[in-house]
Amino acid sequence: MPFIPHTEVETQSMLASIGVEHIDSLFEEIPPSLRASPVDHPLDGLSEMEVGQLMRERATADDHTLCFAGGGAYQHHIPAAVWELATRGEYYSAYTPYQAEASQGTLQLLYEYQSMMSSLMGMEVSNTSLYDGASALAEAVLMAVRSNRKAKSKRILMPVTVHPIYRKVVSTLVRHQDIDLVELEYNSATGTIDPDSLQLSEEDPGYAALVIPLPGYFGTLEAVHKLTDWAHEHGMLVIATVNPVAMATLTPPGEWGEKGVDIACGEGQPLGIPLSSGGPYFGFLCCRQSLVRQLPGRLIGRTRDLEDREGFALTLQAREQHIRRSKATSNICTNQGLMVTAATIFMSLMGARGLEQMSQGSHLNTEKLAQRITAIEGVKQTFKVPFFHELVVTLPQSASGVLEQLAAEQIVGGIALQSHYPELENGLLICATELRTDAEIDHFATVLERVLC
């Protein structure tokens, strides 16, 4: 049905029949201070051609911004085919494919996603995604508390090297469920958790789980094997929160320590999702087979139909809210289906080798960046330890002031750490993915040097 607005004549006739002179008088009871003023159009109007020109101009402004910031969202190469395919009509939906007979393509794609993610993480099971990396960690915490009944504890050991925003989101989601998040401080020399400093006294009521980030927020590498074994020895489950691109180079969580972690989660954005000013992204969540009934979110299974043909369907649905109502494993299983579609196409185009090259390219470029930046007088590497594709440098002055001046030169120069880590007053978190060229790194260093002197 088309939208047909009232004509002036119709409006007048309606007003006359109710005895009102102006439409505005119908809204008089709303105080003037709360009423929206008429829209202030910036321009009288532009032709299609002019709008096109303006948009191209704005777009080039974006393209010229050099990004050296990470902190949970990373600018990586995305093959053009990824979004060309993901936005085709056959895929272009984020909705749950309940109706298996009409959704085989989407279901198979999600099944392939689960297989790829399980393989990348070295874990047995993956769900088909959650909202984002932060809420995936919150779900992992809830899952650990439900699963680890032997621990008789609802306390979680949460290192402060876990992304500060993730820690806030987790706290928001779990604090009203009697779950205590106990912070674990980092060693000020290494920027990582010191496994030898971990002690549990006899009276300690114990913990349901230990969270281990890799890389940590400072880009550093935690002693994952020692930490995993220590936690298991003390009856805790282990939750890994990891960068998926890093897992193409580093040991995946399923292989940490003697037994591997119990739950692995993280942010899926680096796998083919553009930065897009912060979202939409997607979270991933993997676990051991034995915990699968505590895993929230959609799961796709491969099966055979009555005529023995291969097919795909939602499985283990008894965990979910449409069956179990208030007792479901989670009622926040918003599925970022379209993002997962793109990530699956991304991973299949890159392949294991492509992902490894991207991962190592990012690490090498960050090595170059570290050398070039710490060569500037007064700039020091804060934690002199190995890193993946991010590191902290200490500047001779406030990092936020420096970032403002860099922004004026079209450089996003990193993330100032002071607001989340007051002790790192002049700390700057910097990152270089495989996209950054030697010339760009050199340009950043030259401008930074000028800004600092």
């Binding site: 009944r149 008894a318 069956i323």
Partner: protein, 127 residues
């Protein structure tokens, strides 16, 4: 009509109870397994855990539903039927042999509060 052995006690939530030497063995009735259909998974309670009367102490999941198990009396869980992990379908096949858990009851007269076979038959017929 489902089978309701005369020598057992029953709860309104369709658990059967057998007393043996002060210990109480609990399972789900033939009627309950018929309602659930093919059982695919049993979530067992933790051995050593204390439970209250009518407290939730496990989940029985079938191809069409998931339903909670309730404790027919207060006490301590002393044993669970680990064999159900590999063969949950044994509840469908032999509901009165495929027990789920054993309780050491807190009070000795708790058994008196439960239904006998005749009273449970009335519950089933009223449904």
């Amino acid at each position: 009509m489902s089978e309701i052995p005369a020598d057992l006690k029953y709860s309104k939530s369709h658990e059967w109870v057998r007393e043996e030497g002060g210990m109480i063995t609990v399972g789900i009735t033939d009627h309950a397994q018929e309602l659930l259909g093919d059982i695919v998974f049993v979530e067992l309670p933790e051995v050593g855990g204390e439970i209250d009367l009518d407290g939730e102490c496990g989940v029985i999941e079938s191809v069409k539903a998931a339903s909670d198990l309730y404790a027919p009396m207060a006490g301590e869980i002393v044993e669970v039927n680990e064999a159900l992990a590999d063969s949950p379908e044994s509840i469908n096949e032999t509901p009165y042999d495929a027990w789920v858990f054993r309780i050491k009851p807190t009070s000795s007269d708790a058994l008196e509060q439960l239904l006998d076979a005749a009273a449970y038959t009335e519950v089933v017929e009223a449904e």
